[in-house]
Symmetry: none
Subunit: 221 residues, 4 copies
Amino acid sequence: MPARPARKVPASVRRRDPDRTQAEILDAATREFAERGYSGGRVDEIAAQTRTTKRMIYYYFGSKEGLFVAVLQRAYARIRALEQQIDVDHLDPVAAIRHLAELTFDHHESHPDFIRLVSIENTHRAGHMGKLDGFVKLNSPAIALLERILKRGYAEGVFSRRVDAVDLHMIISSFCVFRVANRHTFGALFARDMMSSRLRSRYRRMIGDIVVTYLTAPGAD
Amino acid sequence: MPARPARKVPASVRRRDPDRTQAEILDAATREFAERGYSGGRVDEIAAQTRTTKRMIYYYFGSKEGLFVAVLQRAYARIRALEQQIDVDHLDPVAAIRHLAELTFDHHESHPDFIRLVSIENTHRAGHMGKLDGFVKLNSPAIALLERILKRGYAEGVFSRRVDAVDLHMIISSFCVFRVANRHTFGALFARDMMSSRLRSRYRRMIGDIVVTYLTAPGAD
Amino acid sequence: MPARPARKVPASVRRRDPDRTQAEILDAATREFAERGYSGGRVDEIAAQTRTTKRMIYYYFGSKEGLFVAVLQRAYARIRALEQQIDVDHLDPVAAIRHLAELTFDHHESHPDFIRLVSIENTHRAGHMGKLDGFVKLNSPAIALLERILKRGYAEGVFSRRVDAVDLHMIISSFCVFRVANRHTFGALFARDMMSSRLRSRYRRMIGDIVVTYLTAPGAD
Amino acid sequence: MPARPARKVPASVRRRDPDRTQAEILDAATREFAERGYSGGRVDEIAAQTRTTKRMIYYYFGSKEGLFVAVLQRAYARIRALEQQIDVDHLDPVAAIRHLAELTFDHHESHPDFIRLVSIENTHRAGHMGKLDGFVKLNSPAIALLERILKRGYAEGVFSRRVDAVDLHMIISSFCVFRVANRHTFGALFARDMMSSRLRSRYRRMIGDIVVTYLTAPGAD
DNA sequence: CATGAATGAGTTTTCATTCAT
DNA sequence: AATGAATGAAAACTCATTCAT
């Protein structure tokens, strides 16, 4: 069993900034996975978008799957961080709820990569998220926010419909996510450009109307 | 992508029924693509789920992409066929609109594979649908139906809110699709089983409430 | 998710003899694994020794491990086939047992690759053999042969020592295998060329002497 | 392969004891190589089993191969040290030879890692041992011991068979080594647990019987 | 002495697609 | 119409080894 020849000594310049290296990898991976899906994404391609090599991806993330999980995790962490900054406690309940709906609308519109990652992860039955701790109980601060708004709305008598905060979040999310996530098939089917500025304003107002109407409708419960 | 050969059944059918073979392939491909996505789906695996061989897939569908397009086409055709059968013209507008929402809800719940294919195709920016004729103009009979219901509702004065039929379709679809398509991540995030029968009934009623409230709210216009 | 470009159509000449292809692969793999061990053996190298490509190795054997298992299996099958042909029933028990010992000696000397494969497999704790059925109870016809010789020897009163046939097989095997398998370290340690023709004749006679003496020693049992 | 740097312990031992560090590395390497072979053994894994890092392995041993050689060297040195302690000069030749056989038997049984390393090194055609000085002439004290026993046996007329001490050592070793080294394949082939305590006692007695019978058989010369 | 970061060059494995029969 | 054999190209992953600090 003669030994295989030893490898050559590399002489290239190396950088020394692990955080930066990892962040760069995650940025490239986010783009690649969002663009081509998990199976369609190429580790080689991700590496090429980076100043490091494919080897470092495995060094830091262990596997393609590990990298995807890290991408997901960071994407969710960023959303949460954004949600932390929302402050609508100074608005009256109706204005607050409408504002929150519009923030969600705007956020999803301006983060199509995140929406795509979420779709992709659902396509995989959230199997990657399942491998992570911390996803479950870190539920969005948006829920707590919604709960405060609802509470004030009921106290002030402006909201008549009793509704669970998570359900309300789902109503808003489903509308805002669908418009972005399904715009291609929906747009193709009905020959509409869902992203046109005309439809954009209309839909932005619409989700507010829907939610406010739903909560304030007389006679509801 | 070589076009699928004109399916002229020859006089000498040696082995089996070509239609049947193709249907079998499409069934297997639907399962595989719905399960693993377009990139993740394996031609070998599809062939293995069939009584024919991989070669036949290429014979009939030309390529993996051709097969996926055929799968999509058939899936949409089936949905349309189902929609054709809906008849709510005998109900009053409010009941009709709620019934339609619930039909959509039920349909999506019972066709998760279709929902998955649509998500996957959106992930691909509907690039495969674009290769097909007949998608655009064959827009859903559901729109026509909605238009008739809306018209009656306005005429009878029960609907106060002016709304475009396609927009209304989107409101309903977004809710019903989201619940199925995003159930994995949403469920993981909020520790909920979106498919539980308890939530199922609640959400089924909810989408009707939302739409009816939205359309009938006083002062809306 | 734009599709990756399609592969080119190969235009090379292909052969059509699966049995031959598989045999060729197994021949090359036997050499490579015997030479470099399981971990040290290279699938690329095996393919290069063949008129086919690496791809065919995976087509027929599924994995490197599957190939190694097939190599082992064939190696053992060949030994068994050889053993089937041994015929010493016409010799008197003492001559028969000596002849059998010498056959074993000669066989191992002339099949160093087999001996190496066995060593390698023991290094892996026979983990690959364990994945195969058919290894266990296909115990060597040599055992049956030994049993017949022993029986005749006891009946004729020439063998005095009672011994289990498998144990006897082990006595013979250990000597013959050790000389080949451990010749490198043993030879290095004692500065001997275990394969020299002088030592060869001496050891060939010796294993016969050992076994015959052991079986015929007066007062044994 | 860079030579191991002269191990001059510097005045300023910052972290830990170098001897201890090296011993720790050798322990881990022995386990790893014995378990997975030379090619199969992973430098990363060895480092992980240690309180130092991979870099230290290269610092002390220069390369993977240098480490393996060091492991082998230490293993043989230990065996030799043990052999030095054997004292059977006070026993009569027959008892002494049986005792020596049993000591060898016991030693190999209780040092399976050593047996594995030897097998692995033979698999590599003792190519690593060749890189070391001191292996050849440091041949086992056991040979000298055997020579003394044989001499006494012939003088006292209890041994009739003339035999070379190294050959005798091989007879004993082959049996004892084979039982341990080839137990997996032999055990699988004949459905036996070679390490069972029943077989253990039987084989322990057997190797003594074989050797004693061989040496004392009347008429042998 | 010590160590986390980095890497070039493999190495195994996969996959859509096509050919000869 | 049907099929087992074959394949080029690439994709994921690994490994011994070295550098900067």
